[in-house]
């Protein structure tokens, strides 16, 4: 069955060769002013990325001239800066990740969990700390000057609830009532009306950090195979999806109905964009880990010039290690760090390393004194990392030591997570932090980017 306007194929490598970067134009359906692919005149353009063996389909309005797409892709591929936020869920034990072996109280507080004498990997900026052996991959990147370490990041009056503390990190302020994420608020200011991939959760549901007020964002558990099947095929299915989109585009005052419609509209756009994103080959070998799989897909998407901007993903592992900590922690940290190293190498192989910054965080650290179940209870200050070829590689705040703990016997913070956000916004995205992070003026601006 031939229908008008279907499936013009272009070689993506040819597009890249011919396209000259032109400022102000993004990918199809990203920039505001572009018509929504909401039914009328919908055209499917298949771009085949020859080099990487990628096939992806991009939908746009049929009346938009093709050069627009070419320039848009070239532009998005060359100048966009991307942030990938990796969450260690449950409160990762900072004192295991970077063990304060040189501090006198360490072995007294951690009789069971302490690293063996001489174990671990040297941490050059502070010889009293040593990387956990399972974090060797991260230590390697650190040795290359690609890791900025926050050895004790937190905030004043630390909250030891997973949910409250995580919420603070997600919304970028100490307000339990805040409803939008800090990344979401950035997108609300600079994002597009029609590109849900600009804020992408690689998870089965949207990360609250990416929750926007009204800009579309997406959650995709797996990069490949994102399609919607049905018992109707073309041409009937095209009309079905057209109506599905239409139903998602109607206006409403009801918040729940609006949410429902927005999600349906975004689902359609993601479906159209990712439907043909089939098997891809990675230039490097990733570890057998969920995070590795997700990051390999992410690198392929970025390599294909997909219009991603902020990405959120949860690492392997459950870090709420109240008991038998070693069993869970060691494997989880290894899977996470190995995946991050593979991702960095992948980006380097694709020439994308200067466009991507990875941030690793957890809602809090754990209590310096271990509990009786060979585990640790909730603590306060924790550890965070910024990783990438452009990361400054310089420690932010020092390790506060184990003598002067806070009133709950927890680690005191020497840097604030909101200061990290402000610096990322200003130094990485070149966007003023004040409209996004409340009280931005009051926070330091550590140097995070080189």
């Amino acid at each position: 069955m031939n229908r008008p306007g279907c499936c013009d194929n272009y070689t993506r490598s040819r597009l890249f060769r011919s396209a000259a970067a032109q400022a102000g134009q993004g990918l199809p359906q990203i920039e505001s002013g572009m018509p929504m692919p909401a039914g009328t005149g919908l055209t499917r353009r298949g771009f085949i990325a020859g080099a990487a063996g990628l096939a992806l389909a991009v939908y746009g309005a049929g009346k938009t001239p093709l050069p627009f797409f070419e320039d848009g892709i070239a532009e998005a591929a060359q100048s966009d800066r991307i942030l990938v936020s990796i969450f260690l869920d449950g409160g990762a034990d900072a004192l295991s990740l970077l063990a304060p072996v040189g501090h006198p109280r360490y072995r007294e507080l951690r009789p069971v969990l302490a690293l063996d004498e001489g174990d671990g990997i040297a941490f050059t900026e502070d010889p009293s700390l040593r990387w956990h052996p399972s974090a060797a991959a991260l230590a390697q990147l650190y040795g290359e000057g690609k890791v900025t370490v926050f050895p004790a990041v937190g905030y004043t009056d630390p909250n030891q609830s997973h949910f409250t503390s995580r919420h603070f990190w997600e919304v970028g302020e100490l307000d339990t009532d805040a409803r939008t994420g800090w990344m979401g608020r950035y997108l609300d200011l600079v994002g597009s009306e029609t590109n849900p991939l600009q804020g992408l959760s690689l998870s089965s549901s949207l990360s609250p950090s990416l929750a926007t007020l009204d800009k579309p964002v997406a959650a995709v558990e797996g990069i490949t195979g994102y399609d919607l099947w049905s018992h109707a095929s073309e041409p009937v299915s095209d009309e079905m999806f057209r109506s599905f989109t239409n139903m998602g585009s109607m206006k409403s005052q009801s918040p729940a109905l609006d949410d429902s419609r927005r999600a349906i509209r975004a689902t359609n756009i993601v479906r159209q964009t990712l439907a043909n994103f089939g098997d891809f080959e990675s230039p490097v070998i990733y570890p057998e880990a969920r995070l590795g799989t997700q990051l390999s897909g992410l690198a392929a998407l970025l390599g294909a010039g997909m219009p991603l901007h902020l990405v959120s993903v949860t690492a392997d592992g459950a870090y709420d290690t109240h008991s038998a900590q070693v069993e869970e922690f060691d494997g989880a940290i290894k899977a996470t760090c190995d995946s991050i190293l593979a991702f960095q190498r992948d980006l380097e192989a694709r020439g994308l390393q200067d466009r991507v910054l990875v941030q690793v965080w957890s809602e809090f650290g754990r209590r310096p004194e271990e509990n009786g179940s060979a585990g640790t209870d909730h603590g306060a200050a924790g550890v965070a990392f910024l990783i990438g070829s452009r990361a400054s590689g310089r420690m932010v705040g020092e390790f506060p030591g184990l003598v002067n703990l806070d009133e709950d016997d927890n680690l005191r913070h020497t840097s604030d997570f909101r200061a990290m956000y402000c610096s990322i916004l200003e130094q990485w995205f070149g966007h003023e932090a004040a409209p996004i992070i409340p009280g931005a003026a009051g926070f330091a601006r550590p140097v995070l980017i080189k």
């Binding site: 339990t176 009309e239 239409n246 009786g372």
Partner: protein
């Protein structure tokens, strides 16, 4: 023999059945139809199916109503909302039946069912056709409960069990045996008919919970704070309200010591018991009160705390109404709760009769409620394991909440979970859809007939008229693609499938 050889003889006159919403309920009309020959005048195109009464949209910003009993119209739409929020949606005809009772009787018919719950219809099986093994087979616990939601004649009991499963969220990922999860389910299910005090006591010594939050690892030599913290933060008092301090958590953890279990190589955690040897007998200070408190005292101190009743009311309300109650309503519910000695049922019944429940904004159905209501409306039994991963992908696998705070009810819908809801519909239609390639589908079906047929398949769900108009528009666009005679049957059958897919996938159907 060619496939076409078995073609049925064309019947020119037949009877057509049609579901019509009479306003008072759906009735089935039977009508004589004469099939026309090619070239014969086509049947008159109707204006499409009669739109259902549009749900009355609240005005925004929504103003919460004072405490009281809802006095407005109680028709099909209101009964549907009641069934969607206090049960798992209507089976065909059930909303009409409930509407005839009037609001109060309808609520009480759900909240105070008589006798034991009955499961009607075929018992659930896995895809091999074998009975479920909820204690042993991975994911069968999910199917087992989903089946109860679909087939029970007492849906409110199951819905309240789901509420408490979210409230005291325990995950089998931290529990040795599925049997222990199902034992906990029975405890949660009984919760609605007793006092909250009782439920807290039972859940505190529940073997699944003792594993999940380390209550069984908590002893006088090395206290573990995990359960003490979540008992206060998530179960009884709430975080950041000034109800407790970090010291209260540490002291309560000491008071909760004494529970232990044995480890069996095959079964995991077994033989749960309270061992006075493991209990810390020293004095503890909790909420500024000193005493030699034990685990029962901690439960009592939490539910008698002056900030507990408001926490309970707010949390319970949020499961049924998506906007905060008025101050007046909140106070009245707190009073009701305290005056009834912290019984659960009176508070739920008051919420289900409150004007905000019927006239307030819609809320998003949790994925498992969506799944169960889809199967109920189609009258389908559980016959496949696929519901496990589909519900998981949609964001809610039973017995597997994401963490101890339960599911995030504010964020059910995004591009990932919407896709899984879509797939649930596709899988549900596996047995229901029209086969485009057999010869049975009528090649002269009108738009109106097609839309009516699809809506009737789901028992005439209450769709907003703009969505209904879009269904009609879609159905109207298909005949233009029929260029050759052979295309008519498959395209019209696929049109029916597209309608069947779109109805539960549309924004309305996600809401209650």
């Amino acid at each position: 023999m060619s496939a076409r050889a078995g073609k049925k003889k064309r019947i020119r006159v037949y009877h057509r059945e049609r579901w019509v919403d009479s306003g008072e309920g759906v009735v089935r009309l039977r009508k004589k139809v004469i099939r026309r020959r090619k070239g014969e005048k086509a049947p008159r195109k109707g204006p499409g199916p009669r739109p259902l009464p549009r749900p009355q949209e609240p005005t925004y910003p929504w103003k919460p109503q004072p405490f009281g009993t809802y006095k407005g119209r109680f028709g099909r739409l209101e009964a549907t909302r009641l069934l969607n929020r206090a049960g798992f949606g209507p089976a065909p005809g059930q909303a009409e039946e409930l509407a005839r009772l009037g609001m109060k009787k309808a609520v009480l018919s759900l909240t105070r069912p008589k006798g034991k719950a009955k499961l009607t219809g075929p018992a659930p099986v896995d895809q091999e056709g074998l009975p479920l093994a909820p204690f042993d087979s991975w994911g069968h616990d999910h199917l087992w409960w989903l089946d109860r939601m679909v087939r029970t004649d007492q849906p409110f009991r199951e819905r309240m069990a789901l509420v408490f499963h979210d409230w005291f969220a325990t995950s089998r990922s931290g529990v040795s045996q599925q049997r222990q999860m199902i034992d906990q389910y029975w405890t949660l299910r009984a919760g609605v008919n007793g006092t909250f005090d009782d439920l807290v006591v039972r859940i505190t010594k529940d073997p699944a919970m003792l594993q999940w939050l380390n209550g069984g690892d908590n002893n006088k030599w090395s206290p573990n704070e995990n359960y003490a913290r979540e008992l206060m933060e998530l179960f009884t008092l709430g975080a950041d309200r000034g109800a407790y301090t970090e010291d209260d958590i540490r002291e309560a953890a000491r008071a909760l010591t004494g529970w232990r279990y044995d480890w069996d190589e095959n079964l995991g955690a077994v033989n749960f018991r309270f061992d006075p040897e493991y209990h810390d007998e020293e004095s503890k200070k909790i909420f500024s009160r000193k005493g030699n408190w034990n685990w029962r005292d901690v439960c009592r101190l939490c539910v008698t705390h002056k900030l507990h009743a408001s926490f309970f009311v707010d949390k319970l309300w949020s499961y049924f109404v998506p906007a905060a109650p008025s101050t007046n309503t909140r106070k009245a519910l707190i009073r009701l709760y305290l005056e009834s000695d912290r019984k659960v049922l009176p508070v739920v019944e008051a919420i289900l009769q409150h004007p905000d429940f019927y006239r307030g904004p819609p809320m998003v159905k949790p994925p498992v409620v969506f799944n169960a209501s889809l199967l109920r409306s189609l009258g389908l039994p559980i016959e496949t394991n696929d519901w496990i991963w589909l519900c998981d992908g949609a964001g809610q696998e039973l017995f597997m909440p994401p963490n101890v705070s339960g599911w995030d009810d504010d964020r059910w819908l995004d591009t990932s979970t919407v896709r899984f809801r879509w797939m649930m519909v596709t899988y549900a239609l596996d047995k229901v859809h029209a086969d485009p390639w057999d010869d049975s589908y009528r090649d002269s079906e009108t738009t109106r007939e097609a839309v009516n047929r699809a809506l009737g398949t789901y028992g005439w769900p209450a769709l907003r008229s703009d969505h209904q108009a879009e269904l009609i528009a879609m159905a109207n666009r298909i005949p233009a693609y029929i260029q050759d005679e052979w295309q008519a049957r498959p395209y019209l059958a696929m049109r029916q499938n597209a309608l069947l897919q779109l109805i539960p996938s549309c924004p309305d159907f996600q809401l209650s």
